[in-house]
Structure formats: C-alpha cells, structure tokens
Symmetry: C2
Subunit: 338 residues, 2 copies
DNA sequence: ATGAAAGCGCTAACAA
DNA sequence: TTGTTAGCGCTTTCAT
C-alpha cells in the first residue's frame, strides 16, 4: 500500500536519512539542500506517505498507546469516563484502547495479557477482583493505574470516589427529608456486588450514618445482589414485595441499572411508583429528570478522575514511581425535594 | 521485560525454530525430541512467554485488529453497538479499537489516518459526512464497513436501519392515538442535524406519512438543530415555547439526547410536562419507563447490525469484494398508550 | 529432528 | 550535506 521510506529514497536516488530528515521537518536543521528537500516534498505530496507505526514501535520499544478496561460501556458512567480519557490521551498523542470485561476476572486477565502482547505502554483498569492488580502491574512493569475500586493496594496509583462521605450525606439528607414531613422513615437499600469495595463502602457508610441518627435498625432493610445490573434490581425488588406487606418510604440503590430494575419491578407488581416515595441512587443521569418523585442522586466527578489518572500514568511513563491515591469528591443532586 | 524466542533459544542452547515449534504446539508434528520439548516447556512455564505482537505484525503485514469510529460513547446506542462489536471481534481473535469523533469530520479523518498508520486491518465507521467514505476506503484498501448513515455509496458495504418504515409507522401510530381520543392532533418534530441521512430519512418519512392521512400541514411544526444533543433539544423547545401560545399535542424527537433536552426545557418554562402530552422518540432506553406519559419509541436492532457488519468485514478480509447493503428492522415500543 | 538466515519498515549511531 | 548499517522480534524458507 503506502510507500516506505526506503522506496521513496531509492526512487529519488537519495538515502533514507535524507528522506527521513525532510519528513520530520528537520531539513533546515541538518542543512539538506533546498533542491533535494523540494524533490522529496513534491514526491510525498503526490504519492502520500503514511508512517508504519508497527515498525516504529518495534524499533522504539514503545507503541504510544494505552489501554482502558472497564466493566461495561453500556453503563453510562464508564462510557463517559472512557470517552473523556480517550480525548485526554489523544491530545497527548497517544492512542487509547477501550475494552469491556463484564466484571469477569478471567476475561479481564485475558484482555490484560492481550494488551501486554501488543506492547501497550500502560494500562488503566477497573479491577474486577483483588487478584488482578498485582498481576497486571507485573505484566506492565508497574505502568498501571487503578480506577474506581480500592482493593487496598498502597503500591499502585489509584483514583477512587469518595463513596464514604457521599453515602453518609445521602443518608442524612433522606432521613431529614422524612423527618421534616413527620414520616417514620423506612429504607430499602439495594446493593450490587458487595465484594466490590465501592459498593461495600456505599452500603456500610449508609448504615453507619443512619445508626448515628438513631434509626431503628429494622427500619433499614438491605438486599444485596451479585451484580449491579437491571435484572438484579428487578429481582431484589420482587423479592422484597413478596416478603413485605408495606412499601418502604425510601428506596436507595447502589447503581443506576439496579435503580431501573427496581422501579420496573415495582411498577409491574404494584401498578405504579407511589408519588411520594423517596428515591435515591448512586450515579446520576439526565433521565432521572423524568421521575416526578422526590429524588436524590450522587454524581461522580469523571473529569477529575480522568485528569488524575492520566497525570499518574504520565509519571509512571516518565519513570517516576510514587503511586498516589486520589479521591474524587461526589456531588449530591436533589430533584423535587421540596 | 518478557523473554524473546531468541533469548530462550540461546539460553537453552537450541535454535529458534525448535522453540517456536514447541511454543506453537507443533512439537509432535515435527518430531521434536521429547527431551527438548520438556526442557522448553519447563522453561516457559517458569519464566513465562508473551509473544511480541508488534514484531509479528511487522512480519505478517497484519495486526489482527479492527477499529470502530462512532460519534460518541455517551450516546447509549453507540455504546451498546461498540460493546457488542468488541465481543464479536474478540471471539474471532481480533482486537477492536474504539474511538469517538464527535461528528467532527476533521477529527474523524485524523483518527482514520492514525488507524491506517497503526496498520489496522479494517475499519468500521459511522461517517460524519459524505467525504469520509471514499478516503477511508482508499486508505484501508476497501476494508471498510459503513454503519448507520447512508450517504448514497453503492460501492461500500453498509448497515443501516430502516428509518423510513419505522418513521412512517410511528407517525401513523401517533396520529391514530390522537384520533381515537377525538383530539385534533398537532405535532412538534425536533430533528437533529438533517444533513445526516438517518435523521433526514426519519423526518421526511414522518412528514410523508402525515400527509397521507391528510393532516393539515400547519399541524406539524418542525425544528431542526445542528446536532443531536441535549442542549439542542432544550434550545429547540425553548424557541417553540417563545413563539407559540399552545403546546403541541404530541412531541417527537429524532434522538434521545434531544428528547431529554426538550423535556428539560418544557419543565423549566412550563412547570411540568402535561400528563396527556403524547411523546415519541427515536432510539429506546429503559429510563423512558420513568415517564407517566403515553410514549412511543423506536428501537434499533444493534445485534443485527453487529452481526451483519462483522460478516461483511470477514468477507473483505478474505478478499471477497461484493459490498452488500443491509437494512435492520426497527421495533416500535409503546408505553402507557391505552 | 533441528538450525541458519533473510527480511518486514523503522530509527539512530556512525561514517564520509 | 548526505549515506550506510545494525538491529528491534518475529515468521518462513531452505539446509542440513
């Protein structure tokens, strides 16, 4: 297809160095004669030249590309994160490769090996369990940045969100909303996979905050699920409705897909979502606007995460190895709350 | 980092061919002695071996990787498409590289050149204008499959959705819903960038279907926007509210982000979304469940698209060049319609 | 049953 | 001011 430097050189009867120098715009610097420069420029303008990045990579032992592994792109938060990180990388002249592992550790490990074999310079990863980070770090010679889930490694750079604080704030907000209306509050908290540190943190902090305001513990019911998906939300809510006579005054979910599923089940079994039922979920989405209910959501700061993650990666690539831990603040968003 | 075949060979005092044969599991076939086979296997089990894909690619003139360029990943339809296509590629042993171009032709062209330089084997692309396909096809030696937008090229394989049919169906459904209730229907259609063939097709087919049922043309108001985004939806709706005294009985948008924006503006300027206002949008999303209104959405069949696109790519890679045009059916989804 | 060597296209060090 | 060459790690052909 495209001509190689060698081909151009031989066709013009000059050396590869000369062609290279012109192509790199260093003709002046190395005092290539105006005439040869012109000839080469004319040639490439006519025939085009596309550098062969594969050959370059092999020679330089560097591919100028990074990879990101997220659970799913159909989760809006991760899609937004991926989109922003890709832009950040592109602006720095790096290619970002994006892949989904569906929170399957085997798939994730396979992806990591694959990226390693393709000589990716560095890896951003949302680990699907605690065995992943050390393996990935070794394969990538420490050029790895962890995202979103803190399995307790201090040796690797990591960017997480402040689930603890925001969850406590959320609990207090919901509790006082009920109190202000003279309602005896009862909560249903549906949590996705509690083995994920982010989910566990959301759940335990929520419990702790309610304990602080002396909520009777039987006024908080908890359902956990193996995943943060739509069907798990449906299932959890259906189970609750089967085994309880009264609806909770407030519903809280640890992710949007769970929230969607829970409301879907509620509507199916119960005809509708009661207008005054207090709703809350982690993560935010424009479409939450569609609900008439009082509603609290917690927005993650993906921009902060992307910037911090990329900065850490730059450090690692530059050879600096001082892993830092970044905690992104979260924002409580209220809708129809008074 | 990882050992090379050469290193392994020299450390064990055998030739690269021998090592390779064992690594490829062809030891038997080429009658490598059990003993050498064992030694090599032991060695690689202990030290690990990761093939250098860059070197392999350079030698084979093939990277076993494909690329997909979509407008945005934060658009759920494209995120789902990307996710599914990635799985399809992975299952076939290919790596899929996913990138967003924000419907900016310059960005898209840059991405295409970048992928070309990285020797990607083939390209899936949602073209952002009519100048892209021929350029991309040339750079990728015809190994290109177009998605979602039909700019009228017959020479390239393309997978689109049946906007025409579904839009007509949608128009008839909305019209008869109003008729059944004895309402004199008035429509507001907000269309994103009508230079995109998919959008244009949705709009013109909708108009045509209403003309067929003899709707007075002043009962259909049309607003077009430069993009399919949230803010464009807001802007279009705000403008409508400023210049009209009455709300339309039905609102139709050509994409979900427009829909979100339009409802947001409606709520801001008008306090709420009237309960009986008939809503409709192209593309579907679980969260549309949240709305109490009668609502029609049109779901695209991303699975069909992915399968057709991948099959076409396989053909191209196999050297067959018989570009086909695939049209995916769409499904009308009704909520609260009676 | 195993080895040697060329070459993919590029970069960088050295030569002239 | 320009040219020559080694080598990145792999695959493949041809020799033993």
């Amino acid at each position: 297809m495209g001509k190689t430097i060698e081909e151009i050189a031989s066709e013009l009867g000059v050396s590869v160095t000369t062609v290279r120098l012109v192509l790199l715009g260093k003709a002046r610097q190395y005092r290539i004669s105006k005439q040869t420069e012109e000839r080469i420029k004319n040639y490439t303008e006519e025939h085009g030249y596309q550098i062969n990045h594969t050959a370059r990579s092999l020679r330089l032992q560097r591919t100028d590309s990074l990879a990101l592994i997220v659970p799913r792109l159909s989760n809006h938060f991760f899609a937004a994160l991926a989109e922003q990180l890709e832009i950040r990388c592109r602006d720095a002249g790096l290619q970002l490769f994006i892949s989904c592992c569906y929170d399957n550790p085997a798939t994730q490990l396979q992806l990591i090996q694959n990226f390693r074999q393709r000589n990716i310079d560095g890896l951003f990863v949302v680990p699907s369990n605690q065995s992943i980070p050390p393996k990935a770090a070794q394969l990538f010679n420490q050029r790895m940045v962890l995202l979103d889930r803190d399995f307790g490694f201090a040796d690797y750079p990591i960017i997480i969100t402040d689930n603890q604080n925001s969850s406590q704030q959320l609990a207090r907000t919901l509790h006082s909303h009920a109190a202000n209306r003279g309602i005896d509050p009862s909560f249903l908290f549906i949590a996705g996979n509690p083995e994920m540190p982010s989910i566990a943190s959301r759940l335990t902090s929520f419990q702790a905050a309610l304990a602080e305001v002396k909520l009777a513990s039987n006024n908080l019911q908890i359902r956990t699920a193996p995943r943060n998906g739509f069907s798990e939300g449906m299932e959890a809510m259906s189970e609750f409705l089967r085994t309880n006579n009264h609806l909770p005054s407030a519903l809280v979910t640890s992710s949007i897909p769970l929230f969607e599923g829970a409301l879907h089940a509620l509507r199916e079994h119960h005809g509708l979502v009661p207008k005054d039922m207090l709703l809350a979920t982690f993560d935010d989405h424009t479409m939450l606007d569609f609900l008439p209910n009082p509603l609290c959501s917690v927005r993650q700061d993906s921009t902060y995460m992307v910037n911090a993650a990329f900065a850490e990666m730059e450090q690692l690539i530059a050879g600096v190895n001082q892993p830092e831990r970044h905690i992104a603040a979260m924002t409580l968003i209220s809708r129809n709350m008074d």
